[in-house]
Symmetry: C2
């Protein structure tokens, strides 16, 4: 066992450049929503070379579209497949799903990027570009871990099921499709950017859209109208209060270092068409975090009820109630016992590689882990390279050193969890 471990660590050390090159190629393909195909093509080619048993399919399944956990406003998945590559075990060992998503969020304001958003530029050990951290870096860590076993001809008993899914950033339809296609396992690792911390609990989240009504008027007599922007400020402040109330209640020690365990993020506001008109409508979009053990429905109800309270403060809202929609992204929260065998396998591997105990926390964001744990009954741990400070941000990057470490720890975990058959 010790021998295998050392061989793996050595092989991965010798092949770091391969990992960096693969990540660079992946980052250089813009895989924002609806454009996932060219990055998936690189994944497919890699899986083929590794000799994995490939399953490539486009989402188009009424069973999925009608599933209660399906939530997406996307109509067309054509040409942008999910990819699964299986390293079959000899039998008798525990299986594992290694799940990464290929979709990345939009680049935001181009001007704030120092290098092109999809440059894959490497400088001082960092690889830059949208998706480098969230989460093509994690995906490369998975593939390199698997490649080390294959290159060293180490046979496992349990199956290793690698998944490169679409739609994680928009509600998890890709992972849900994989679950409904039958993929489940004795455990799963999702290498989202935890900065090498181990997250047995994952925050859930939901997207909301709030439509705020005003009454139009000429801007020169704006007192004759009611500004949807001014009313939106009240809604925003109300959501800030709700965030505070909800987070004051979180006492889980796994969240003790997280400033806001379950944030309410206001991601968009659009209102008005003319500088000198009073705007008659504003649309606010955002996401509300759901605690690991909380029901999605109860978080929804709490927010709706809380916003309803605006009617007491301001009569306008009684006469023109807010429209609240729950649309697009929805991530089921997940929770695993901290002493689950998968936690132990990962923690042991971490210690072996790092000579120190891992930090164990709760995930501050939603992942596809909720779908795997609640719908596929698959115990999930989120653990990966990269820091969330850069995810979704301009100048997103990953420290390659962390990617290599994650890859090594995951490879050791596969050895431990799936067992060697040599």
């Amino acid at each position: 066992m010790e021998k295998f471990q050392n061989d793996i660590l050595e092989w991965l050390k010798d092949n770091r450049a391969r990992g960096a090159r693969l990540l660079q190629k992946l980052v250089q393909e813009n895989s924002t929503r609806g454009n996932e195909s060219s990055a998936q093509a690189i994944i497919i080619e890699k899986c083929r070379r590794l000799g994995l048993q490939l399953d490539i399919w486009e989402i188009d399944d009424d069973h999925l579209f009608q599933h209660p956990a399906y939530c997406s406003d996307r109509n067309d998945y054509k040409g942008n497949p999910n990819v699964v590559g299986i390293l079959k075990g000899s039998g008798g060992g525990k299986s594992i799903i290694l799940n990464g998503h290929i979709d990345v969020v939009p680049v935001g304001d181009h001007k704030t990027w120092i290098h092109e958003p999809f440059s894959g530029h490497i400088e001082n050990g960092r690889l830059y570009g949208r998706g480098a951290t969230d989460m093509k870096g994690g995906t490369v860590a998975l593939l390199m871990a698997m490649e080390s076993l294959i290159a060293l001809d180490i046979k496992l008993k349990g199956d290793v099921i690698f998944q490169s899914v679409i739609e994680e950033e928009s509600g998890g339809a890709g992972t849900l499709a994989a679950v409904l296609r039958g993929y489940r396992a004795d455990g799963a690792i999702i290498p989202e950017p935890t900065n090498l911390r181990i997250f047995p609990k994952q925050q859930g989240s939901m997207w909301f859209r709030i439509t705020v009504k005003g009454r139009a008027a000429h801007g020169g007599t704006r007192y004759e109208g009611v500004s949807a922007i001014e009313k939106s400020v009240k809604v925003i402040e109300r959501l800030q209060d709700l965030e505070k109330e909800r987070n004051d209640k979180i006492i889980d020690p796994l969240y003790k270092k997280v400033p806001i365990p379950i944030p309410i993020n206001i991601g968009k506001i659009h209102s008005g068409e003319w500088p000198s008109s009073v705007p008659d409508t504003a649309v606010i979009e955002g996401r509300i975090g759901v605690a690991p053990e909380e029901e999605m429905a109860s978080a929804k109800a709490e927010m709706e009820q809380y916003l309803f309270g605006l009617q007491k403060e301001d009569d306008w809202f009684s006469k023109h109630p807010l429209q609240i929609e729950w649309f697009g992204g929805r991530w089921v929260p997940g929770s695993l016992e901290t002493d689950h065998p998968l936690m132990n396998a990962l923690t042991d591997s971490f210690f072996k590689r790092m000579n120190t105990a891992p930090i164990i926390e709760a995930s501050p964001w939603g992942t596809d882990g909720g779908i795997l744990s609640t719908i596929a009954d698959t115990p999930v741990v989120v653990f990966g390279p990269g820091i969330t400070e850069t995810a979704h941000d301009a100048n997103e990057y990953i420290a390659l050193e962390d990617l290599y470490k994650a890859s090594e720890i995951i490879a050791l975990t596969l050895l431990n969890w799936c067992e060697v058959d040599n």
Copy 2:
């Protein structure tokens, strides 16, 4: 004189239906910015039938584009002409410009309109549709006033210069083009919707665009970013404070019935592209009112200075200063002595028709009057039918009765101002 006056009032009474029909046709043509041509075609046809000396031209003049008062973000005026129709006087009388704009603001949220926005639907004496009040109703009042003189074969000494201009809602490039083409006169009436009050002073206004920076982050760790929306709320509140300060200083008795003499209207805010990302940029657009005797430049400087004060409250703004642009619309304020002969002519005519004295106030909004008075040295009074409560709003309408009254009062004013030569 009495005879002419009575003939005019009688003719206008007999021909009210013509006015309503003309307005209906005009409202049914969508003449939002860039689409003015079909409504102008109706104006041209009407002027042609009245036998006016027509001048139709498309704006395309470097002299104009380089004029300090020119401000527009429009690149293409092709196909959407300005129209001037002159009723030549026999000489020796005072000339007058009758100026109306054909452009209308966008319709806003379609769903809040009971009838189609360009229906021209008539019900209970009201004609509905975008532009009915602002200001096709006023334009029809002008044309009917002129038609009464022509139909009755009443010859005037002074020229009556009717103008149907574009771009009033976007900064007055249409009227400025007419001024630079040489049109000026001894006086001018602009029948914007004053609800038959007389406005010798006009508020000026300017459009602004404020770009607020944030720092993007994943919404689940939103505390790692800085929300451009949250920072925008501070900017909005600061602008509200500035509005209060500026208006507290207005002591002109003409403004005593106006709740906010020189409003700051926040007309638009756009921020964010993704519900679960912290938005890194917000763009706020609005208009600031400028007092009749205030310099545009000093209002600008005051607002810039005031916003600069945010840096003391919040260090973020020191490191990421607001970008303030003055773009698009800009309306020069104007001011006429309340005892100017044009005021007297209009006031006398008002009394003749209404048997009561008019209400004299200051305009709560900018008009093209500032351009006429400051650049063409033409004394301007703003006086017209319609109420601003409906201008720029959904379900804009005009009470036809008011349009008829305005038309009658303006016809009597022409008689008085330009003098009869019969």
